[in-house]
Symmetry: C2
Subunit: 320 residues, 2 copies
DNA sequence: CGGGTCCGTGTAATCGATTTCATTAAGGTA
DNA sequence: TACCTTAATGAAATCGATTACACGGACCCG
């Protein structure tokens, strides 16, 4: 583990000069050559740790997402990654698993590791990012925002999307439309349900028994769909508030032999890896990648010193 | 950004004592209490950077995977994560994007960041992990191994899986069986193709025109499947060597209206988020999560000083 | 009561890079 | 030639934690 000192003594210069060579400062051509040669000979890799300690900021950003097995978030991650990489930052991907404690742990790591910034898709409403704010580290919320913090945010219009999806089902002639949404403390879940409520209310009336809260995963979709189909008076259509629960709901439909269009279905977010092209399902596509790209750009702006008031960017619900 | 020194002076003790409090060493109850109180008052978060510099090893491991959008790898990542977390390590997930240059960059970061170890699902045959080996950092290969290094590895029996899958198609009565596999420089791709070759050779003869190399992604499956269907004498069945290409192949089948069992299909690896339960498709399930768990355990062993000769663990091709 | 052990604590060195400040050398102008 | 500017360079401080070492006091035993 060669250090800058060993390179320096091998090249017959001071450590300062070695540092300057690697940071593109003015060094005579001759010495620069000797330094590079020595570095190669010793297979020198500069210590990011020492660098970060001295600079008090690392060249990495953290991306905290609630479910790494959800293609929506991995697609978002790709967006973040591409932008960050291009700007010379590495991305540390953290999976909070929809768990507030794990999320808090990762936030603390981001502080302790002097990360340049954090992009957070929060596990719930009440994530605490004060540690970062206090230390002046930029944070950008994506998809979901923690309450009570005045930070940049990138999101989609969940309510409008939920309304649109439900309206589409109404237009297809369905009358008893249920809603399967996510946890009650996640704003994307409640907002999408609000959109559903808007639409069914306008069309007649809301039956709150048709509203199921689940856990945004495939299993949540299973359970909620089964509950709905088992009701004495089951719905004739369902609006599902995210992609994975959509998969779960469809799996249940498939098992019971009532696939769309026998039962109406609309899903918020693209169905991952769908095989059949045009199933009788209404899909509200989400710009997952674009969310990531936008959040990363916002964060990089902040890292580079931009200090205008917090911005909220609402992306259109179109595929990117 | 409170430091250990400020906590120390507030609590009226030495920095050493503060450090000891946070590392569970013997400190009198009274002082410990004062230190904790001061730490809370200053909202002190210890610098992992300084700690890592001093200890010359961080409490993080890197997991480098070739495609973060492939559920096989994210599932593996979950396995790694669960084990690592339980042992107090955080996981830095890196997406090499099947790109050797990006992978090399991440390997260098792992060295420079003094990570405790690396789990690598290599982008190809010839990844260079010498930087880590030289510095005595443990590396575990998972799913795919770089050639020329004597390191721990966790894998599945690709050749047997390919053979089994192809045999299943033969038993279903298909006679002209094609194979869609991954890039020629990825060992999982060539080994699975070898399995296919074994089976078709035993059954009569191999037509190498029926072997297509693609890129292990959905698009690769598209192109290869279209090519096969467009042949003058198209195959009547196909063995697809990974999950995403399986999706791509099925999408093409769906478009052209020749779904299984009209055309035979066997896939190596579970089809992600499949909606229809028992399609007429043979699936060789893969223990993705289990691969991750096993690799993480091996790595932790090494981190904890285990220095027996390199081990290779071959997992059975069963769901975990 | 002398000597040994053990525990708690503080001082100061250390990890490896960056950077300020001072110094030297080189070049330019009057 | 004398003086001034500019560029290249090195010595040493710095970032914030850990830890080897030393010291003092409490305790125990013969």
């Amino acid at each position: 583990m060669a250090t800058i000192y060993e390179v320096a003594s091998m090249a017959g210069v001071s450590p300062a000069t070695v540092s300057r060579v690697f940071n593109g400062q003015n060094v005579s051509a001759d010495k620069a050559r000797r330094v590079r040669k020595a570095a190669k000979a010793l297979s020198f890799t500069p210590s990011r740790v020492a660098r970060t300690l001295r600079m008090r900021s690392s060249q990495a950003i953290a991306l905290i997402i609630p479910d790494i097995e959800n293609p929506f978030f991995t697609s978002m991650a790709r967006g973040v990654e591409d932008v960050a990489q291009a700007a010379g930052y590495s991305v540390v991907l953290c999976n909070s698993d929809e768990d507030h404690a794990k999320e808090a742990r990762y936030l603390e790591i981001a502080v302790g590791a002097d990360m340049a910034g954090v992009i957070l898709a929060a596990a719930g409403d009440n994530s605490d990012v004060s540690g970062l704010i206090d230390r002046n580290r930029p944070v950008v919320a994506v998809d979901r925002s923690p309450h009570g913090f005045d930070i940049d945010a990138v999101r989609v219009d969940n309510r409008a999307g939920g309304r649109e999806a439900t309206k589409a089902l109404l237009e297809q002639g369905f009358t008893r439309i249920a809603c399967i949404t996510g946890p009650g403390d996640v704003e994307t879940a409640t907002e999408r349900a609000d959109g559903w409520r808007d639409a069914v209310r306008a069309a007649g009336g809301v039956d709150e028994q048709y509203l199921k809260f689940a856990d945004f995963r495939v299993d949540g979709g299973h359970k909620a769909m089964r509950d709905l189909l088992d009701m004495r008076r089951p719905p004739d259509a369902v609006f599902v508030a995210n992609n994975l629960m959509g998969v779960g709901a469809l799996q249940v439909c498939s098992q019971r032999g009532v696939m769309p269009p026998a039962v109406g279905m609309a899903v918020f977010g693209d169905l991952p890896f769908a095989v059949m092209a045009p199933m009788a399902i209404t899909v509200i596509p989400l710009p997952a990648r674009h969310l990531g790209v936008t959040a990363a750009k916002l964060l990089l702006d902040r890292i580079n010193g931009d200090d205008q008031p917090a911005r909220t960017v609402v992306l259109r619900n179109h595929a990117s």
